[in-house]
């Protein structure tokens, strides 16, 4: 299961991929940030097309493992998240750092491009807005882009 409604624990993902012959472990965390296009964000809610999201996550993980000699763990959280919560976590273990970094980057980029997950932001002014869908509840109406804060050992924008 790649989707979860419970808090994500990175150590759990690392434990899934580590082994004595894999000396390089790259991780990525995407967390909820407190602003979007100059507006203060209070919380986020993620929803998904669960069956397809699980299927596509499985494809992406398999693609990474076929392209590089690595083992990959991936989780994406759904439901209501607070500022700072981990929305997505990836752990990749390989024999060396090059393949671990490369595969980790591949997984997050493909996830954002292909996995059917949507995000609604709740703003400090009480309005809510679907990110990237041009639809707002309330008077605010803007086009947005995916905006989770990103930090981690593997990928930096």
């Amino acid at each position: 299961m790649y989707l979860t409604r419970s808090p994500i624990l990175l150590n759990t993902l690392i434990a899934e991929v580590e082994s004595p012959d894999r000396g390089g472990i790259a991780t990525f965390l995407g967390t909820v940030r407190n602003h979007h296009q100059g507006r203060e964000v209070r919380s986020l809610s993620y929803s998904a097309y669960d069956a397809m999201a699980e299927s596509v996550c499985g494809e992406i993980v398999a693609e990474a493992a076929a392209r590089w000699p690595v083992r990959v763990a991936l989780q994406h959280r759904l439901g209501d998240l607070a500022i700072g919560d981990v929305a997505v976590a990836i752990a990749v273990a390989g024999g060396h750092r090059d393949e671990a970094f490369a595969a980790c980057r591949y997984v997050i980029e493909e996830l954002k491009r292909r996995v059917p997950i949507w995000k609604r932001e709740m703003f400090a002014d009480g309005t809510t807005e679907w990110v990237n869908q041009g639809v707002a509840n309330g008077e605010a109406r803007r086009e947005g882009v995916a905006s989770s804060e990103e930090r981690g050992g593997a990928v930096a924008r």
Binding site: G30, S45, Y46, S47, A48, Y49, D50, A51, M52, A53, S55, V56, H76, L78, G79, D80, A87, V88, I108, L111, K112, R113, R114, V115, P116, I117, W118, K119, R120, W130, V131, N132, Q133, G134, V135, A146, S148
Partner: protein, 124 residues
């Protein structure tokens, strides 16, 4: 749970709305109600279409059953939905999936396929 005749009020095909709820449980998975409409052998073939996120809100349902007649491709499904109330929300960047895979507009669609109409993605 009753079914309303949710026709677009125009000459388009009849469409039945399953779920009159305009609001999704926050962050929840859209409820897909167990179907009975297509179980009647005398019913015409239908294509069951799932809607997600803002699209489910704008069309005020998470599942639509389209009569399959004349619907050959993913693009045909999209065209039918665009003619419905709220269908103007389905802009040029709308995504279509057939049987859990992203589907170009020309992808063939048959009765029994799992078809989804999706807004631009925002995971991660």
């Amino acid at each position: 749970m009753g079914y309303g005749s949710g026709g677009a009020g125009n000459s388009g095909p009849a469409v039945w709305f399953r779920d009159g709820s305009p609001r999704l449980p926050m962050g929840g998975v859209l409820p897909i109600l167990p179907g009975s409409m297509s179980s009647n052998a005398s019913s015409p073939a239908v294509i069951r279409v799932q809607l997600f996120a803002s699209y489910a809100e704008r069309l005020e349902t998470s599942v639509i059953e389209l009569p399959a007649e004349g619907v050959r491709t993913a693009g045909d499904v999209l065209d039918r939905l665009r003619s419905l109330p709220g269908g103007s929300a389905l802009g040029p960047s709308t995504l279509v999936a057939v049987n859990l895979r992203h589907a170009p507009r020309e992808t063939p669609v048959h009765s029994g396929d799992e078809v989804a109409i999706m807004p631009p993605l925002a995971g991660g």
